[in-house]
């Protein structure tokens, strides 16, 4: 009896051997293999049942429970059920007899528990050990003993004691041993397939990717492998490439920094070199290299990037930048030249234009003195007009010069108090016309970051205008104030209750020599507000006005943040 059981277990071990010979049987999960698996397990179960321990005719004991359990645990559930079906049919119809029912029950319970273990194992992803297999073996075979209770005529009373010692020792141990073998086998097979799969994945990347890839010897530089992208790029056939060295790809470069070790560095940094194609064409490439394990050796894996177009574009950009810089330089020079000429022009106007004017005026005055007694009123009037207009022209020339100076003189930002400057300006105006009474309000503490000299010109023009245009008002009033926030957005206002102007002409206000009043009404050069505007622009600020005829004027201005100086 013992011999037959041992024989049975040996048979089962052979099953494990079959599995290790055909590894895909246990690994692949397609219908063909599931079917094959079911048939193999079923067949082994039949073989096991063909050489049993025969208790009596129709009552046999063998390793089918072990086979069914193994099928449940290790094969796909469908395979296990197929194997169980085959074994059960064989047991029922080929053998038959009194033991048929417990025999079939044994097959079913072993398969069922095996399948349960299979799911449990799948879910928890643990490797089945010897002890857990032994435990399940015990459960399965206790149930096998229980199945004997279905034997007719209380045969179990004699059968169970007879088979129990072997069934509860040899069978579970046999299951555990064989199962462990299966587990080990399966593990190896899985590892093997994973390795193969990952290898084929990388091979596929190497073969199919459009990036140029080379594998070469780090010491000699000889090429071990080249992918189709490399073959297409270089134009050599694969067999030609495998007989080449990486240094054969190099084109000697006039730029010495391109020359570096033939196989490149393994630092992961790009090596910029020139490669010569089979056609003789030379391309600029970036070679990225790294070590790779290959057939037990450390080789150099290189990715070659064709950077010819990119470099060409870079050079173009650099060239454009240089051209641009040169252009800026040229323009700056032109501008500087123009400024210099403007300055020279201003100087010339100041000096040379005034000289003849002084002569006209001076000699007219002298003439008037000499001949005053001999001339009629009209002639004297003419002489007066010559003198008056010469002086007027002198004033205009001076105004023009001031305008050019406001534009060209360098601007110096300091913290200044506009209130103080405004009061000083008002008191100067008062001194020119001591008889006038003007109601003046200047808000205290109007500070700003600005050019002191320019702001003085600005306020002297704005307040001077207010003073001038209120000269005919009954009770003249001038105000200088500002919004409260002390920022670049702060708005200053100079307002008066003078003659004002029609807003229809507002766009002409700041143009040089534009006047909205006649010379006899209010004298002036027409330069004041264009000076003011230039000063505001140079500070990065803004100026605008509100007025209506006979209802006074308001001039609003902002000074900017004092950081950006504007050249005009």
């Amino acid at each position: 009896m013992l011999l037959q059981i041992v024989q049975n277990i040996t048979l089962i071990t052979a099953l494990a051997a079959i599995y290790s010979i055909f590894p895909q049987l246990s690994y692949k999960r397609n219908p063909r293999f599931i079917l094959a698996n079911g048939l193999i397990f079923g067949l082994v179960a039949i073989i096991a049942m063909s050489m049993p321990y025969v208790a009596e005719k129709g009552l046999i004991y063998d390793g089918r429970s072990i086979v069914a359990a193994l099928a449940g645990i290790f094969a796909a559930p469908v395979s296990a059920l197929l194997a169980a079906l085959i074994a059960a049919v064989f047991r029922a119809f080929a053998i038959g007899g009194t033991g048929t029912i417990p025999g079939i029950l044994t097959i079913l319970e072993a398969t069922g528990i095996g399948v349960l273990m299979h799911y449990w194992n799948d879910k928890h992803k643990i490797t089945l050990g010897f002890s857990s297999l032994l435990f399940f073996g015990l459960v399965i075979h206790l149930l096998m003993l229980a199945a004997q209770l279905t034997l007719p005529n209380e045969r179990w009373r004699t059968v169970i004691p007879a088979i129990a010692p072997a069934v509860l020792t040899l069978y579970p141990v046999g299951l555990a041993l064989t199962g462990t073998l299966f587990v080990q086998n399966k593990k190896h097979i899985e590892e093997h397939f994973q390795l193969k799969e990952s290898e084929s994945r990388y091979r596929s990347i190497f073969e199919n990717h459009h990036t140029i890839m080379l594998i070469s010897d780090p010491d000699t530089g000889s090429i071990f492998d080249a992918n189709p992208a490399a073959i297409e790029f270089y134009g050599w056939s694969k067999s030609q490439m495998l007989h080449m060295n990486q240094s054969d790809l190099r084109a000697s470069s006039p730029e010495s920094f391109y020359d570096s070790p033939a196989t490149g560095s393994n630092t992961g940094e790009a090596l910029n070199v020139l490669h010569r194609l089979r056609s003789g064409e030379i391309r600029e490439v970036a070679v990225f290299s790294g070590p790779i394990e290959y057939a037990g050796r450390t080789l150099t894996f290189s990715i070659v990037q064709d950077t010819t177009e990119q470099r060409k574009a870079e050079r173009l950009v650099r060239q454009l930048n240089q051209t641009l810089e040169q252009k800026v330089k040229d323009r700056t020079q032109e501008l500087e030249q123009a400024n210099k000429e403007l300055k020279a022009f201003a100087y010339s106007v100041s000096h040379d234009l005034r000289a003849p004017l002084r002569a006209i005026e001076g000699f007219s005055s002298l003439l008037r003195e000499n001949v005053a007694g001999h001339l009629d009123g009209t002639s004297l009037h003419y002489l007066d007009r010559i003198v008056y207009n010469s002086e007027k022209m002198g004033t205009l020339i001076d105004a023009l010069l001031r305008l050019s100076r406001v534009t060209s003189q360098p601007i110096v930002f300091t913290n200044i108090d506009l209130s103080v400057i405004a009061r000083e300006t008002i008191s100067e105006l008062q001194q020119t016309e001591p008889e006038r009474h003007v109601d003046v309000f200047v808000q205290d503490g109007l500070t700003a970051h600005a050019d002191a000299a320019l702001i003085r010109i600005l306020l002297s023009n704005l307040l001077g205008n207010a003073w001038k245009f209120t000269s005919k008002a009954k009770s003249a009033s001038i105000r200088f104030e500002a919004s409260h926030s002390n920022t670049a957005e702060r708005v200053f206002v100079v307002s008066d209750n003078g003659v004002g102007f029609d807003m229809a002409y507002a766009d002409k206000l700041f143009s040089p020599f534009q006047r909205l009043h006649t010379e006899t009404e209010f004298p002036g050069t027409g330069i004041g507000l264009s000076l003011v505007q230039r000063i505001i622009i140079r500070h990065g600020g803004k100026i605008w006005a509100k007025a209506s005829p006979a209802h006074g004027a308001q001039f609003f201005f902002k000074l900017g943040d004092g950081n950006e100086q504007v050249n005009i």
């Binding site: 100087y347 100041s350 040379d352 005034r354 002569a359």
Partner: protein, 157 residues
Amino acid sequence: MNKSTSEPSAILLVEDNPDDEELTIAALKNSGITNRVVVARDGREALDFLFRQGIFALRDITTEPRLVLLDLKLPTISGMEVLMALRAHNETRFLPVVVLTTSNQEEDILGSYKLGANSFIRKPVGFAKFSEAIKQLGRYWLLLNELPAQTSSACPA
């Protein structure tokens, strides 16, 4: 007007524009300034006169200047160069020099003072104003202002 005939009393007018020369002389006359006026028409002439060289090597002692009215824009040697030369010379280093010019450019004003000008006056366009300016400067520099004895070229420094 002269305190004594032995003291320098002439006015050296350095002016290249004949109209300006005439107007300045007329203004001096209008202001009642009777001092002798010597005119140099460029910087070269001015220096020759001051240092008694060239055509002025043998000039009259009565032409010794007490005041120089100096235009800046001159042919050959400029007004600034004249100023520099006479301030560098021992005999003329304290000689009052009033820059009288049409320019009021900052660099001209600053440059003149840096080189030792005593005064800077911009010729106004109006003759009346010009006459007034000449009158005031004549009074101040010829009558009011005191000079050290060394200024005289008669006393070698």
